[in-house]
């Protein structure tokens, strides 16, 4: 009896100490820097002021960037929703052939870093892009009738890299609909179209809305696409405008715009999470599952299939091929002939110290960020979900705040917090790591929460009843059960961190470059083929990572 009491007592103490340590860590790494941004945005020197915000709304260039952000994101989201919902309907609910292939092709953009995607689209549709040249040679025109370096280009490419969110969510919702709900409408006298309008659409509306909100947030907080396609046309959005303000540097203006960006992206995120929660109340008792009825497209089957294939190819495969071609091209704009191909760019990048350094840095940052956030995440989840310690819920909440904070604001908060004594991290790789920790902490906590929730308490209790102590229960029962989830979560942080651009482009310094930064700078300086070669390498790493994740999680998780 005494012994039992002693162990419980001690482990409780350890847990409280751990909790306080994590709490302090969150305060220093998340709360302190982020609140500095807000404070800074309201101050001029030591005084309180709203002048910084006035400056945003009174200077035409800033105001225009703000509105550009809003309308570009709205328009892109509309395209995402239309495209994503339509394609989801076609693939889940019609007799279109090659469904699993089409689905894979359509999800491809999800795995491609948006800024690399933007480069590929510039290669395809730029003034001397592959498609533009094809068009010119076919029509004899002097130039293509489109401009990829424009607001329109930004909208289009943003939509392509955000629509998988809508596609995945809506096709998931369509697949989960209890088909008897639709059959009941047929038995009530409604034809296929009425059933679609009265039953199917209302049932997937929450999914459409939630994914639209997420797509909007993805668009408005994106930096790579408006930077690579907008700068040249002098077309600015909030993220790129903040980038310019920081290079002046005008810190007060940058902070004010970052706070505005955080609000415009944070509000939809909160709404989306509410919707998700409300949707869980929508679940009704489900009986035997009958295969969803697929609509016969009839004579439309072939033409619709061809259009969907073209869209699917342009979503991922065509940009990838273009990237590969460009990486072997002797000089940008050279006609596509075998004689114009070279492996020189690969030799060049392999011998460039900056590249090897950047690769090392990115791998180190990704490994460190994934390991630290997963370890902290697992502890937080265990304390809030399993041990149900008071205060652990607060930790969980604080740790997930950065989910609603755009990368740009995280980067600014790092500059504000870590560029003055006593702790000067700015100018080193450590400031980038700090930013990654903030940014990826919510993802880790979410994965570890989900993983831990799958292990029912009774499994642990059964082990205790069988005579296992706390440590043994952890080692023999809990760890084996959550290991696949933890590994998958680790990779889900590792992969995006490996190719991260938005934060590192604002925080990098000589010697602390990341792969994303090197690719961006190469492309920005006009070395398209070098950037393409680097991108190809990064894409190969991502592909390999994806295969590993699929193997580990048996296809349940992918990127």
């Amino acid at each position: 009896m005494n012994m039992v009491k002693a162990t419980t007592g001690r482990s409780t103490d350890v847990r409280y100490v751990l909790m306080i340590l994590i709490g302090l860590f969150f305060l220093a790494v998340i709360v302190y820097p982020l609140s500095l941004v807000i404070v800074k945005s309201f101050s001029s020197g030591a005084d309180f002021t709203i002048n910084n915000y006035v400056k945003v709304f009174s200077q035409e260039a800033n105001l225009r960037a703000f509105w550009n952000s809003i309308w570009v994101s709205c328009l892109s989201t509309a395209v995402c929703v239309a495209l994503g919902t339509l394609l989801a309907m076609l693939i889940v609910r019609t007799d279109i052939p090659g469904k699993s292939w089409l689905r894979m092709l359509l999800l491809l953009p999800y795995g491609i870093p948006p800024f690399i995607g933007a480069m590929a689209w510039a290669q395809l549709f730029g003034p001397v892009g592959y498609v533009s040249k094809l068009y010119m040679s076919l029509t004899g025109a002097m130039s293509a009738p489109w401009r990829i370096y424009s607001a329109g280009g930004v909208v289009l490419v943003l939509a392509i890299y955000q629509f998988p969110v809508v596609f995945i969510t809506v096709s998931g919702a369509l697949g989960r609909i209890d088909t008897s709900l639709e059959e009941a409408a047929r038995m009530s006298g409604g034809g296929p179209f009425r059933t679609l309008i009265d039953v199917t659409l209302p049932l997937i509306t929450p999914a459409i809305t939630a994914s639209a909100l997420l797509a909007f947030v993805g668009c408005i907080s994106n930096f790579g696409i408006p930077a690579l396609l907008g700068f040249r046309a002098r077309f600015f959005v909030l993220t790129t405008r903040i980038y310019s303000a920081l290079s002046i540097p005008d810190m007060p203006l940058a902070t004010a715009m970052a706070v505005l960006l955080a609000i415009t992206s944070g509000v939809p995120l909160v709404l989306a999470r509410r919707l998700e929660r409300r949707q869980s109340r929508y679940t009704v008792i489900s009986g035997k599952s009958v295969r969803p009825q697929t609509m016969n497209l009839g004579a439309w089957r072939a033409p619709i299939f061809i259009i969907v294939v073209i869209v699917s190819l342009f979503a991922g495969v065509v940009p990838l091929i273009s990237m590969l071609l460009t990486s072997f091209l002797k000089y940008w704009g050279a006609p596509l002939r075998f004689a114009n191909m070279t492996t020189g760019h690969y030799k060049y990048i392999l011998n460039l110290p900056m590249v090897t350094r950047a690769f090392r840095n990115s791998v180190f940052l990704a490994v460190a960020a994934a390991t630290i956030t997963m370890a902290v995440g697992a502890l937080v989840s265990y304390m809030s979900i399993r041990a149900k310690i008071r205060g652990a819920k607060t930790l969980d909440f604080v740790g997930t705040i950065p989910y609603a904070v755009p990368c740009t604001m995280v980067a600014i908060s790092m500059i504000l917090a870590w560029s003055r004594p006593p702790v000067v991290l700015y100018g080193t790789i450590w400031v980038i790591l700090a930013a990654y920790l903030v940014r990826y902490m919510p993802f880790s906590i979410r994965t570890t929460n989900a993983t831990l929730q799958q292990v029912h308490v009774s499994l642990e209790e059964a082990a205790r009843v069988s005579g296992a102590g706390w440590i043994q229960t952890m080692r023999h029962i809990v760890m084996p059960l959550i290991r696949p989830g933890l590994v998958a979560g680790w990779i889900l942080v590792f992969m995006p961190a490996l190719r991260e651009l938005t934060m590192s482009v604002l925080l990098w310094s000589q010697g602390a470059e990341t792969m994303g930064v090197v690719i961006y700078n190469m492309q920005d300086a006009g070395y398209s083929q070098i950037a393409a070669a680097l991108s190809t390498v990064v894409l190969l790493v991502i592909l390999a990572g994806n295969v590993v994740v699929r193997k580990l999680t048996k296809g349940e998780v992918s990127m």
Binding site: D178, S180, L181, E183, A184, A185, R186, M187, S188, G189, G190, G191, P192, R194, D198, V199, P202, L203, R281, Y282, T283, V284, I285, S286, G287, K288, Q293
Partner: protein, 358 residues
């Protein structure tokens, strides 16, 4: 008085229905007819093809072969390229999981078929009031399904199916998601509802007690085919094969040998040496399987075969024993007046037994 000819209208006729899923035959050569005012059940274990048959009748599934008539109209005939879509068949259907739409209120759910049929508003209102009353859903009109209990959701589904006064209603295991008490209560209510509305019901279930309790006629299905069709008591008393005998009610199966077969009956010897007289005629001598209902064995009699009580289970109105007769263990049900303890030796008379070939 001359002979009166009563014309009983047929409501559902299924002939030679077959459904193939790839290489798997779900339903094979199924035929039956449901008449007006009839409660007809398709009964069978899961995977026997009963739900597929129902779905072929509803039009939600297209059979590979055969024909379906609803109220005399040909609605499904793959050979003749006839396939009336489900919404134009004029039948009500209740799904196993109720399929009550979560985004519509009780009233919106139940009035949906009427609104689709563009019925005048007063008609809808009267009908709704009537159904709310009939199904005891008054006061819940504005509730959403997530705020209802399982039994209430079920009644909403019933109301929706009844709202257009269909002549035929299909019910797919509608009681299987309810708890035991409610299930028993709903049996009476469904039967009552059918009598009140005069509707023809085709009922699909794997629960033989349910089918027996409510149906006028039952078709027992196994492995995609109808194996026996008839009134519940007929099927219970005279199962045509071992499967039906086993599936309907409780049955003891014991191996035996036919020793003395005549036109009037036969004597069958059990493994322990005890002999039982059966009424079956024209049996062949040799080994067979004897099927005996637990209530057909009398315990504690003066004559009969020797037996020993093995286990006793008290069930309230009856007591169930497991007794050893020779080498066989048999279940026996008696009323509570006979009190025997495990280990007691007594005698038993087997009043009635069926014989199936080995």
């Amino acid at each position: 008085m001359g002979a009166e000819v009563v014309l009983v209208e047929e409501r559902i006729r299924v002939s030679n229905l077959a459904k193939q899923f790839g290489t798997f035959t779900a339903v094979h050569d199924v035929s039956f007819t449901v008449h007006e005012n009839e409660f007809f059940s398709l009964l069978g274990p899961s995977g026997c093809g009963k739900t597929t048959t129902l779905r072929c009748i509803s039009g939600l599934e297209q059979p590979t072969e055969g024909e379906v008539y609803i109220s005399g109209r040909l609605v499904t005939a793959p050979r003749k390229n006839v396939m009336v879509p489900p919404e134009r068949r004029g039948i009500g259907m209740v799904f196993q999981n109720y399929a009550v739409w979560p985004h519509m209120t009780v009233e919106q759910n139940m009035s949906y078929p009427l609104r689709l049929a563009k019925k005048p508003r007063e008609h809808v209102a009267t009908k709704m009031a009537y159904l709310m009353d009939l199904l005891e859903l008054k006061g819940l009109e504005k509730r959403y399904p997530s705020e209802l209990s399982g039994g209430q959701q079920q009644r909403v589904a019933l109301g929706r199916a009844l709202s257009t006064d269909p002549k035929v209603m299909l019910l797919d295991e509608p009681l299987s998601n309810l708890d035991a008490k409610l299930r028993e209560q709903m049996r009476f209510e469904l039967k009552d509802l059918q009598r009140k509305t005069g509707i023809s019901i085709l009922y699909v279930t794997h629960d033989q007690v349910e089918a027996m309790a409510m149906s006028d006629r039952v078709a027992v299905m196994n492995a995609g085919a109808v194996v026996q069709e008839g009134a519940p008591h007929d099927i219970y008393a005279n199962p045509t094969d071992k499967f039906v005998a086993d599936f309907i009610g409780t049955m003891n199966f014991v191996p035996g040998t036919v020793v003395n077969a005549t036109e009037q009956g036969a004597r069958v010897r059990l493994r322990g040496g005890a002999e039982v007289t059966v009424r079956e005629s024209s049996l062949e001598a040799g080994s067979c399987t004897l099927a005996i209902r637990p209530e057909d064995i009398l315990l504690g009699t003066e004559r009969g075969v020797d037996c020993e009580v093995d286990v006793r289970i008290f069930l309230g109105n009856v007591i169930e024993y497991r007794v050893r007769i020779g080498e066989d263990l048999l279940r026996v049900q008696t009323n509570a007046s006979i009190r025997l303890e495990p280990g007691d030796r007594t005698r038993a008379i087997i009043q009635h037994a069926l014989v199936f070939p080995e």
